[in-house]
Symmetry: C2
Subunit: 98 residues, 2 copies
Amino acid sequence: MKLTEQQRASELAPLLAAGWVMVKGRDAIVKTFTFQDFIQAWGWMSRVALQSEKNDHHPEWNNVYNRVEVTWSTHDCGGLSLKDVKLATFCDQAYAKN
Amino acid sequence: MKLTEQQRASELAPLLAAGWVMVKGRDAIVKTFTFQDFIQAWGWMSRVALQSEKNDHHPEWNNVYNRVEVTWSTHDCGGLSLKDVKLATFCDQAYAKN
């Protein structure tokens, strides 16, 4: 289910304040994470991959060496859902521990 | 070192025959691999990631659930090198074993 206006204020706003950006023309958020090298980037991606599979909710992502651009949106509802909020938050938390 | 014309005929041509495509406006090749699900896609990506790190040559790649689009090019020489041929071939071999 798509985020309500209230949920956007309470759940999405903190992510936008933390560097996530609305994708132009889509109800989706994107953020680029930068690492020391490929090993660090891949380690982080692996954690996000396992968490995604566990939640049955997967990112659109692009990796070039030490950079990973991650987009979250929910296909089923055609926009942002609480699943995206959950996984985007996981991305930030895993990055903070990196 | 960029591929010579002779190397393009002997090394690159087989990859182009196997589904790799020249990227428009770049001396780079791209191919999309499709899997049964995310687990299969991630398993394949993990093998490519380890091989990339071992060869110190990394792809540009994009993953959405069961699809992975991989681009190979060599930054140092500004175009395709034998490293790209080697890793693109590895991608195909690992996919065949999938």
